[in-house]
């Protein structure tokens, strides 16, 4: 049985593409045949995050316009067995694809793949409608900030209105130190507000920047905390119950002292 999962957010820059790359790589590493589709037409990015930018011949628009067969547009990631990418077109805009075309394409991909992961563009316009058209499931990415959570709430409402049921939340860029000193909303705060199920929490991690520089997803880095968190997300997607990591790093002596005296720990 294959599944089409859209990774969306509303607000831009919260980590949709990073999450798509990492979760997709993780699914392939766990033995599931996976294809990633970049639907951010005009602002393609998933190819560079994956390190596959030099291999592009055909793109999503070529496929839906019939300029090539689906097979020709699938870029095989040679590093990971069973991982493929269909890149977005760079010189067109979101209106070059229609929701019905996405449904047809995904139906064809379902024959061949266990998972179809769709990287959604920011916003709630045509690009969003294309990205969710064929989705069985949705992962809504947010950061622990007022604007991102607000937009996530809007997206959750729109997903439900479009019959993409039971979306799951992925909280990205959490900083345990800031949560601890009361300067960042906690996991519970966000869940309380959005009232949806959690699929994962990814810490803010420099390694994400390093791995994006290299075009090697952080999920492959056994020392990366974000990589570990993404591995847990992959296991949850495949139906496993995995406890959520606690990001409480060891507290320094000064911090403990401050706490003892009821001062805000900085």
């Amino acid at each position: 049985m294959s599944e089409v999962i859209v990774i969306t957010s509303g607000k831009g820059g919260v980590g949709k593409t990073t999450s798509t790359a990492n979760i997709g790589t993780g699914l392939a590493l766990s033995g599931s045949k996976t294809v990633l589709i970049d639907t951010d037409i005009g602002l393609r990015n998933l190819d560079v995050v994956m390190g596959l930018e030099n291999r592009i011949v055909y793109d999503l628009v070529d496929v839906v316009e019939g300029n090539c067969r689906v097979k020709q547009a699938l870029i095989k990631d040679k590093r990971f067995d069973g991982l493929y990418l269909i890149p977005a077109a760079q010189t067109r805009d979101k209106t070059a694809v229609k929701p019905e075309q996405m449904i047809r394409l995904c139906d064809e991909l379902r024959e061949e793949f266990d998972y179809v992961l769709i990287d959604c563009p920011a916003g709630i316009e045509q690009g969003f409608r294309n990205a969710i058209a064929a989705a069985d499931r949705a992962i809504v990415v947010t950061t622990p900030e007022v604007s991102a959570v607000r937009d996530a709430d809007r997206i959750i409402g729109l997903l439900e209105a479009n019959e993409v049921r039971n979306p799951k939340l992925l909280i990205n860029r959490l900083r345990a130190d800031m949560v601890k000193r009361g300067d960042m909303m906690s996991i519970d705060d966000i869940i309380d507000i959005l009232a949806i199920g959690l699929i994962g929490v990814i810490p803010d991690d420099e390694k994400i920047v390093v791995s994006t520089n290299r075009g090697e997803p952080a999920i492959c880095d056994s020392k990366s905390l974000a990589g570990q968190a993404f591995r847990n997300v992959v296991r949850r997607i495949k139906g496993e119950e995995v406890p959520f990591m606690s990001f409480s790093e060891d507290q320094g002596f000064v911090m403990k002292l401050k706490k003892l005296f009821g001062l805000k720990a900085n």
Partner: protein, 94 residues
Amino acid sequence: MLLDLRKIFGRSKSSKDVAKERLKLVLIHDRANVSPQFLEMLKSEIIKVITNYMDVDESALEIQLTKTRSDDGQSVVPALYANIPIKNIRKSGK
């Protein structure tokens, strides 16, 4: 005059609590506005219940979501404001 001890000791509300409070308020408005029918539905349900007890001027009935200070004055909370002109109270209560 009341002294705000929390302010004197520099223990103001944490920024995440402020964020949470603001978010809750803004989402109440967002969620109500996502469907323009929301307030209309609410309005017709309220009229349905209230007309069991009194005659109201349905055309002048006004209802909106606003904010108000909480009882302890510490925070802003969402409020449903309804202005329902009454024409007559039914004697039987039914």
